[in-house]
C-alpha cells in the first residue's frame, strides 16, 4: 500500500515512512469510516487514461480538494499533442501527476506512489515509472481483449502475474459507474463518461479529500445539463461509498495539512498566474492592456484567460499570424497601452524582426515565451528551456533585450510584474520566459494584497524637451540620464509630433542618420541602457556556509534543484543554491557569487545555454548538467549529478543523456563541448 512498501520516491529527504497509525476518523470528510486510517507525510498520485477519459479534469479537481485540505502540493499535467489520438492507444494516453504532503513540496515528485490506470494503454505507458511496491488502481472493464491487443499485450497483465510486485486494486470502474447511475435516463455512453468522477470519489475517500468543492464545481459546470450533473454527482458519491464498503480497500490514508506561511491561498496554474500578472501590471501602471497573440501551445491559455477579462478593459487581438500579434502589440504600445504578445519558441522566431524594431523604437513591450521542446515544432506539449539563447541573441544586429524568467507556476505572476517594470521604466521590449511545465503545473499561491504590488506608473511626455523658448522642439531620443530611457510621447500629444522608425536615427532628434560615429554611439547606448537596468542582487541560499559547490539555475528548474539541494543537505553534503530571475542583465554580483564557490553546477533543460553564457561572460568553469527529455528534472537525477561532482566522479558523459539516469536505453551521447570538466 502507499507508503508502507518499498515504493520510496527518490527525493527521499522529504520522505518519511508511516509515522503513525490511527483508527480514529479524521477531522475532515470521512466522518464515520470504520476503516483503519494510516497517516502519511506525502503521496504522489498519477492519474492516467485515454485523452477522452477526463484525466486532466480529475487531476485538477483532486488538486483543488487537496489544496483546500491544506496540503502543500505541486502538479505535472502530461498530455499528448494530438487532440484525440485513437482511443486506447499509447499515443493517446494523458496523465496528471500530483505530489502532496504535510510539508513544503517543490516538485510534482520524481515517481508516483499510486498509479490510477483507466485502460491498458495507460498502465503500459506509466507502469515503468512506478517503483516496486507501489499501488495500482485499474479499471478492469477496459482490459478487454481488443484494448489489450491495441497496446501489444497478448495476455492481460492483471492475470499473468506481471503485477506481482505491486499492490493492485482491480476495480470494475466503468460497470460500477454505469450501475450507480442506471436509474437516470442516460445513454450508456454518457453514463460511462462519468467514470472519472467515480475514480475521483474513490481516491478522495482513500486520501480523505473533501468533496464539497468538486460538487460545487460540477454544479456550475453542468448547470444547464441537469442529467449530466446528476450522473457526475452520483458517480462521485458511488466511488466514495465503494471505498468505504469494499473489502478491497482495508486502509485509507491521511496526509496532514502543511504548515504554510499565514495567509489566504488558492491554487494557480502558471499561465493563469502570468495572465493575472499582466492584468495587475497594467492596473498598477494605470495603462490599458493590449494583447496581440496567435494561438500556440503551450501559451494559448494566456490568450484565453485575458480574452475572458474584457471587464478589466483588456483588449485581446487574435492576429492572423505571430508577426501580426507582436506588431499589433507594438502599435498599441506606441499609442500608450501596455503592449504584450504571448507565444512559444517557434513564434519567437517569427517575431524576431518586430522585436528588433521595438529595440530601435525603444518602446515598452512584453514578449512572453512559454518554452516547449524544439527545434522546429519539436514537442509542443512538453517542456524545455532551450530558447534562452534565441531570446538573447535571435535578432539581426546588436539588439539587446532584457530577459526575466519565472521559477514556478505561481511566480509567473511576480515575474510578469517585473517584466512590466523593466519594459515601462526603460522603454524596451522585455522577454518573459516561462515553459510548458510552469504553464500547466499548479501549486498553492498566497494571494497578494493588491496594494502591496509595485507602483508601475510612468509619465508620458507632455512638453517639448529641446529647442529654444521661441522655437521649442521635441527630441524623441533625448534620454533620461539615469535610465537612458527616451521619452514615451504618444500620438495625441500636441507639440510632440515626431517620426520614428527602424532606420538608424540621430541621437536626440531621431532623424534618419547614416553617420558612422552616430551609429556606433547609438548601438552602444542601447546596449548600455539594457546593461544598466537595475536588477536585484543574486541571493545565495547556503545555510551552513560550508558549501564549496553552488548549484545555479534559472526558470522552472527551481523546484527540482531545491528538492535535490534539500536532500543533499539532509544527507550531510553542504550545497549552496542560487537562482537567476534576470538573465539579461544578470545581477551585478553574479560573478562574485560564482567565484565564491569551488564548483558551479548549472542544471538546464537544454544542452548548456546558461553555462555557455557564464563561461563567456565571467570566465567561470560552469559544469553543465543537462536533460532535454521534455519533462522537468527528477530530483534524484540532480542529486546524483551534484554528488558525483562532489565525489570527483563526474564526467561529462554522465549527464545530458537519458541513458544514464533515465529509462531511455541507447548510446550515451556526450553533451556539447562546453560541458564542464571535473578538474
Amino acid at each position: 500500500m502507499p507508503g508502507t512498501g518499498p515504493a520510496r520516491p527518490t527525493d527521499r529527504a522529504e520522505w518519511t515512512p508511516v509515522s503513525s497509525v490511527s483508527n480514529s476518523p479524521t477531522s475532515n470528510s470521512a466522518t464515520s469510516s470504520a476503516k483503519r486510517v494510516e497517516t502519511l507525510t506525502q503521496v504522489v498520485i498519477r492519474f492516467a487514461g485515454d485523452s477522452g477519459d477526463g484525466m486532466q479534469l480529475t487531476g485538477d479537481r483532486f488538486t483543488v480538494e487537496t489544496a483546500a485540505f491544506g496540503n502543500s502540493l505541486s502538479t505535472l499535467p502530461d498530455f499528448p499533442a494530438e487532440i484525440r489520438a485513437p482511443a486506447g492507444t499509447l499515443p493517446g494516453v494523458s496523465a496528471f501527476q500530483l505530489h502532496f504532503a504535510d510539508h513544503s513540496v517543490v516538485t510534482p515528485g520524481d515517481a508516483p506512489t499510486v498509479l490510477v490506470a483507466m485502460n491498458p494503454a495507460a498502465l503500459k505507458a506509466n507502469l515503468g515509472d512506478l517503483p516496486k511496491g507501489g499501488t495500482v488502481i485499474v479499471d478492469t472493464d477496459e482490459f478487454t481483449k481488443r484494448n489489450l491487443a491495441k497496446v501489444g499485450y497478448t495476455v492481460s497483465p492483471l492475470e499473468d502475474g506481471s503485477l506481482a510486485d505491486y499492490q493492485v486494486h482491480a476495480v470494475a470502474l466503468t460497470t460500477m459507474t454505469v450501475d450507480a447511475i442506471s436509474r437516470l435516463d442516460l445513454s450508456r455512453k454518457d453514463a460511462e463518461r462519468a467514470k472519472n468522477m467515480f475514480a475521483l470519489g474513490l481516491l478522495s475517500w482513500l486520501y480523505h479529500r473533501p468533496l464539497e468543492g468538486t460538487r460545487r464545481f460540477l454544479e456550475t459546470k453542468f448547470a444547464k445539463k441537469p442529467d449530466i450533473l446528476k450522473a457526475n454527482l452520483v458517480a462521485l458519491e458511488a466511488g466514495w461509498s465503494f471505498g468505504e464498503t469494499t473489502e478491497g480497500f482495508a486502509v485509507h490514508y491521511e496526509v496532514k495539512p502543511a504548515a504554510l506561511p499565514a495567509g489566504r491561498y488558492r491554487t494557480i496554474r502558471g499561465n493563469q498566474a502570468l495572465a493575472f500578472g499582466l492584468v495587475a501590471a497594467a492596473e498598477r501602471a494605470g495603462l490599458p492592456l493590449f494583447l496581440g497573440s496567435y494561438p500556440i501551445t503551450p501559451a494559448s491559455d494566456i490568450l484565453h484567460e485575458l480574452s475572458n477579462l474584457k471587464h478589466f478593459g483588456v483588449r485581446t487581438f487574435q492576429a492572423e499570424d505571430e508577426i501580426a500579434g507582436v506588431a499589433a502589440a507594438l502599435g498599441a504600445s506606441y499609442g500608450g497601452s501596455l503592449g504584450v504578445t504571448t507565444t512559444s519558441g517557434p513564434g519567437v522566431a517569427l517575431k524576431a524582426e518586430t522585436i528588433g524594431l521595438a529595440v530601435a523604437l525603444e518602446l515598452p513591450l512584453i514578449v512572453v515565451d512559454v518554452q516547449r521542446g524544439g527545434p522546429s515544432t519539436g514537442l509542443p506539449t512538453k517542456t524545455e528551456q532551450a530558447d534562452l539563447l534565441q531570446v538573447l541573441f535571435g535578432r539581426n544586429g546588436e539588439a539587446p533585450v532584457p530577459v526575466v524568467a519565472a521559477q514556478s507556476a505561481s511566480d509567473c505572476f511576480a515575474a510578469a510584474l517585473e517584466a512590466a517594470r523593466i519594459a515601462l521604466t526603460y522603454r524596451t521590449p522585455v522577454f518573459l520566459l516561462s515553459d510548458g511545465y510552469l504553464a500547466n503545473g499548479s501549486e498553492p499561491w498566497r494571494i497578494p494584497d493588491v496594494q502591496t504590488l509595485p507602483d508601475l506608473r510612468v509619465p508620458f511626455a507632455t512638453e517639448p524637451n529641446g529647442g529654444t523658448e521661441d522655437r521649442p522642439l521635441f527630441l524623441p531620443y533625448l534620454r533620461d540620464p539615469e535610465t537612458l530611457a527616451r521619452p514615451w510621447a504618444i500620438p495625441g500629444t500636441a507639440g510632440l509630433e515626431h517620426r520614428i522608425g527602424g532606420i538608424e536615427k540621430k541621437d536626440g532628434t531621431g532623424d534618419i542618420s547614416y553617420d558612422p560615429a552616430n551609429h556606433d554611439f547609438m548601438v552602444r547606448t542601447r546596449a548600455a541602457k539594457v546593461a544598466g537596468i537595475d536588477v536585484p542582487d543574486l541571493q545565495v541560499d547556503d545555510p551552513s556556509g560550508d558549501a564549496d559547490i553552488l548549484v545555479l539555475g534559472w526558470g522552472s528548474t527551481f523546484g527540482p534543484i531545491t528538492g535535490a539541494v534539500r536532500n543533499l543537505r539532509a544527507a550531510g553534503l553542504p550545497v549552496a543554491q542560487a537562482h537567476l530571475r534576470h538573465l539579461n542583465p544578470m545581477p551585478a554580483n553574479t560573478v562574485e557569487v560564482l567565484r565564491s564557490y569551488r564548483k558551479v553546477i548549472v542544471p538546464e533543460m537544454n544542452l548548456g545555454q546558461l553555462a555557455l553564457l557564464l563561461r563567456g561572460l565571467y570566465l567561470v568553469d560552469a559544469i553543465a548538467v543537462n536533460q532535454v527529455r521534455g519533462l522537468p528534472f527528477r530530483v534524484a537525477d540532480l542529486e546524483a549529478a551534484v554528488r558525483s561532482v562532489a565525489e570527483g566522479t563526474f564526467t561529462r558523459t554522465d549527464v545530458g543523456s537519458a541513458g544514464r539516469y533515465g529509462p531511455v536505453a541507447g548510446p550515451v551521447v556526450p553533451t556539447i563541448e562546453i560541458t564542464g570538466e571535473d578538474a
Binding site: V64, A67, A68, F69, G70, P257, L260, P261, A262, G263, R264, Y265, R266, I268, V279, E283, P288, F290, G292, L309, K310, H311, F312, G313, R315, F317, A319, E320, I323, A324, A327, A328, L330, G331, A332, S333, Y334, G335, G336, S337, G339, E353, T354, G356, L357, L361, I447, P448, V450, P491, G492, T493, A494, E497, R499, I500, G501, G502, D511, I512
Partner: protein, 377 residues
C-alpha cells in the same frame, strides 16, 4: 443599399483663409483642430529624398494639401509605413509617424487604431510591401474593417531594391531578377481587396491631383478600412508604366472613371460603355449600338461585391485598356475597434468593472492562520 458615406461639404468657414472641411460621420469623433490648417503645417523639416521625377512627390503634395480638410488636430493623425520607397512618406509629414518594417505596417497600425479610437491612422505602402511580404496583414486588416486608411502606391516594380519585378508586374516583365521575363501572374490589388471583404476600395493615379484628392476625401470619410490603390510612376525602374492612363491622346479612351449612380461610360465622347451580357458577365460595348439605357449603372454601395469585382476585372493588365478608376466599393460595416469596444462595454455592464483583488482570489480559497489551518471561501 447601404447608406453612402460620401462626404458633404459645408460652406467655407466664415473666417476665410482655411480649407473647406470634410464633414462625415466617420470623422466626427476625432479631436478637431483649433483653427484652419494649411498644407505647410503638414510639411516636416526633413529633406525629401525620392528620385527627381518620382510619382511619390505628387502624392505627398496631394496628401499634404488634403490633410487640412480633415480639420483634425495634427497630433491626432498618424502615418505608419513599412519598407520601400513609399515607406519614407511618414518622415515628410508633420504628424506622428512610424517607419516600421517590411510588410507589417497594417498590423502595427491595427494595434494602434484598435487601442486609440481618437486617432486618424494612415498606412502608406507599396505593391511589394502590401501585396508580397505583407499580403497577409493587408487582407486581414481589410476583412476586419479596422479604421485604417491604406494608401497603396503601385508602381508595378521593386524600387528600393533596384528594379526586381513585383507582385503587380505583368507576365513577361524583364527585370534584373527576371532576365527571361516574369512567369508570375500578377495580382490585381482591387480584385484582391474585394475578395478580402474590403468595405472601401478605390483606385486613382498620382498625376491626377483632383481625382487623387477626391479619393482621399472619400477614403477618410469612410468608417473602417479604406484601400486606395494609387498608380504611381517609378521613373527609374519602370518609367511610363501607366502612360496609357496619363497620355492626353489615350487616357480618355482607355480610362473608365467610375461614378456612383452613373452609367459606366468611357472613351472619347463616351462612346464606350459597360453592360451585363446574357451570361451575366460584364462586357464593353459601343454605346451608339446598345443605347445608354443598356449600360450598367455603377453602385458603389451595393452590399454584394460581385459586380464591383467584375468591374475590377475589366482592365487589361498588359495594355491597361478599360482600366477603371474611382470608388469600386464603399459600404458600411461595423468597424473592428467599435466591435471590440462594444464587447468591453458589455462585459463591464454584465460583470462590473474588473476588480483585481477579486480576480486574484478566485472562487476556491483557503486561509492558513498562524500555525493553524482552516478552510474557507
Amino acid at each position: 443599399m447601404t447608406e453612402p458615406s460620401t462626404p458633404t461639404r459645408p460652406a467655407r468657414p466664415a473666417r476665410g483663409a482655411g480649407p473647406v472641411l470634410l464633414d462625415a460621420p466617420a470623422l466626427r469623433h476625432l479631436p478637431k483642430a483649433d483653427g484652419p490648417q494649411s498644407a505647410k503645417e503638414f510639411k516636416s523639416d526633413q529633406e525629401v529624398r525620392w528620385c527627381p521625377g518620382c510619382g511619390d512627390y505628387a502624392i505627398l503634395a496631394a496628401v499634404q494639401n488634403f490633410l487640412p480638410q480633415l480639420g483634425v488636430k495634427r497630433e491626432n493623425i498618424v502615418f505608419i509605413s513599412g519598407i520601400g520607397c513609399a515607406a519614407r512618406f511618414p518622415y515628410y509629414v508633420n504628424t506622428f509617424g512610424m517607419h516600421s518594417i517590411h510588410g507589417r505596417a497594417p498590423a502595427i497600425a491595427t494595434g494602434l487604431a484598435t487601442s486609440r479610437s481618437d486617432l486618424s491612422v494612415w498606412v502608406v505602402s507599396g505593391d511589394g510591401d502590401a501585396l508580397s511580404i505583407g499580403g497577409n496583414h493587408l487582407i486581414h486588416a481589410l476583412r476586419r474593417n479596422v479604421n485604417l486608411k491604406i494608401l497603396l502606391f503601385n508602381n508595378r516594380i521593386y524600387g528600393l531594391t533596384k528594379g526586381q519585378y513585383s507582385p503587380t508586374s505583368e507576365i513577361g516583365k524583364l527585370t534584373k531578377s527576371t532576365p527571361l521575363g516574369s512567369v508570375d501572374t500578377p495580382f490585381n490589388p482591387v480584385s484582391l481587396a474585394l475578395g478580402a471583404e474590403a468595405s472601401f476600395v478605390a483606385r486613382t493615379i498620382d498625376s491626377d491631383r483632383t481625382h487623387l484628392t477626391s479619393m482621399l476625401q472619400a477614403a477618410a470619410s469612410h468608417p473602417g478600412t479604406s484601400l486606395v490603390e494609387i498608380y504611381q510612376n517609378c521613373n527609374i525602374f519602370n518609367d511610363g508604366a501607366f502612360d496609357p492612363l496619363k497620355d492626353s491622346t489615350s487616357k480618355d479612351e482607355v480610362t473608365i472613371r467610375l461614378e456612383h449612380g452613373q452609367p459606366i461610360r468611357f472613351g472619347i465622347g463616351g462612346h464606350r460603355g459597360v453592360r451585363r451580357d446574357h451570361a451575366g458577365r460584364l462586357e464593353v460595348v459601343d454605346v451608339d449600338q446598345v443605347g445608354v439605357d443598356a449600360l450598367l449603372v455603377h453602385d458603389a454601395h451595393d452590399p454584394d461585391p460581385s459586380t464591383a469585382f467584375a468591374i475590377s476585372r475589366l482592365s487589361d493588365p498588359e495594355t491597361l485598356d478599360q482600366t477603371p478608376i474611382g470608388i469600386f466599393r464603399d459600404v458600411k460595416r461595423p468597424t473592428y475597434e467599435a466591435a471590440m469596444t462594444a464587447q468591453i462595454d458589455t462585459a463591464i455592464a454584465r460583470r462590473g468593472q474588473g476588480d483585481l483583488s477579486a480576480l486574484l482570489a478566485g472562487r476556491d480559497t483557503w486561509t492558513v492562520g498562524s500555525g493553524q489551518v482552516g478552510s474557507g471561501r
